[in-house]
Amino acid sequence: MTMNWQPAASMATLRERARLIATVRDFFAARDIWEVETPVLGQGGSTDVHLVSLSTLARTDKGQRKLWLQTSPEFHMKRLLAADSGPIFQLAKSFRDGEVGSRHNIEFTMLEWYRPGFSLAQMVEETTALVEHVLPRSPGPVVHYRYRELFHTHLEVDPFTTSLDVLRSLAAERGSMPAQALSDEGRDTCLDLLMGMVIEPHLGQQELSVVVDYPASQAALAKRHQDADGEWVASRFELYLNGIELANGYDELTNAQEQRQRFDDDNAERRRLGLPEVDVDTQLLAALEQGMPASSGVALGMDRLIQRALGKSRLEEVLAFSTANC
């Protein structure tokens, strides 16, 4: 049997990768944002219904414990913020089970940073500056869109007010699914399908696209606010380049009680869907209880940014070893 032991990426690409990572560190050093390292393992995991966490059993000083591999370094970094770290960044190995494809790998590098006192608008500005700093050529102008406006432009429906039945049949049609395929699904699943299949391919073409004002139900760990139309929306943005989501940023939720409620709601939804529950990160809740400064934060898929910077069509072309041959 021949073993496929060779690196997935060429040596020249891996050297380019190292150079790009160095430019990221320069960017943050110039802005007095210091680099931290936090554990990959945690006693709590991500409850997000759409993420599948990996876990492992470890013999700890408290006996055998189930520990979760992080889906992003968010919880540990927020505990540092609550301990008055000030602005911090990290290049962190993160894990999302089952995510395999030309722009996904189960294990990947997340660039995550937090800015106490920054508004979401300031964070958008810093994120686009970072992307421009790393890319060899300007990606074009930064163009802002509201989530609602994108649905009006590309699908002629309103994500907040169009009836669920209409969204279900439109999503099924655009996904070449049988008409009844989505009859049990909620609004967010239909909106996710339309966003992913129809709208995303148009974003970030000859420009950097910034999308804001996502429905409040898609807030994840971001605050919520009322937009200019009076709709409750998530205080969150997404950045797109060449039809691919590169980064998402939050005006971070700092309220411990609301955070606990969202974790519990996620686990309730997991039970309803027959998915395994995930241990809630009680240490994060304790940190928020004590007080985390108002902050904005961004998570950026570093491998994807490198992929774009080097013009590679598959993510594995910028990885030393993909999960397929790790």
Binding site: D48, H50, G98, E99, V100, G101, S102, R103, H104, G175, S176, M177, D188, T189, L191, D192, L193, M195, G196, M197, E200, Y214, Q218, A220, E238, E245, N248
Partner: protein
């Protein structure tokens, strides 16, 4: 048959979709920001040959299709059915309907190996070899000395296919033809 979940969809996997066996051509994970993941899957319907795209929620599954490809030699036709024989020494024969044969009917030659795609042990398609050597049974007389590029004329081959050939080709000659494009390659 086993069920396959979207993350097991790989190029070449045979699955059932709307009652027809299909072969997966491509599978791409699409995950909008923080939300529900989907798989955009390109499938070839093995009954019609048509390629289409379908979207699945990640984690959905499809039943596997009992499809296999076997090499068999063409034997003869009785007018209704076309008969092939396994090349593995078993002498086992399969009868193929005209519908399953499709365009391959014009590339048939005795003792040449073809790939038969079987679904539940019934032939649903027949793929000819990429190149085949066939005799010209009818064409206008060759122009002596004309070996220049540019001119061509139709020629009917022993299997019934009609291909464009250079003007110098004569009746009775054996030609190498590309079955995928239906184009003349060279004299055999």
């Amino acid at each position: 048959m086993a069920n396959y979940s979207t993350n097991e969809f790989k190029a070449g996997l045979k699955v059932m979709l709307d009652g027809d066996p299909c072969s997966i051509v491509e599978n791409e994970l699409v995950k909008p920001g923080k939300g529900q993941a989907f798989n955009r899957v390109k499938l070839r319907n093995l009954m019609t040959g048509r390629v289409g795209e379908k979207t699945f929620k990640s984690g959905d599954s499809l039943e596997g299709a009992d499809v296999m490809d076997l090499e068999m030699e063409y034997l003869y036709t009785d007018g209704d059915m076309w008969h092939f024989m396994k090349t593995d020494g078993s002498f086992e024969q399969y009868a193929v309907e005209k519908k399953a044969l499709g365009d391959t009917v014009k590339w048939l030659k005795e003792q040449v190996p073809y790939i038969l795609t079987l679904w539940n042990d019934k032939a649903i398609s027949v793929t000819p070899p990429n190149f085949i050597e066939l005799e010209v049974v009818e064409t206008d007389p060759g122009l002596k000395g004309d070996t220049a590029q540019g001119g061509s004329k139709p020629a009917t081959l022993s299997s019934g296919a009609v291909v464009r050939v250079p003007l110098f080709i004569n009746q009775g000659e054996v030609l190498k033809v590309d079955t995928r494009s239906g184009e003349y390659v060279s004299r055999a």
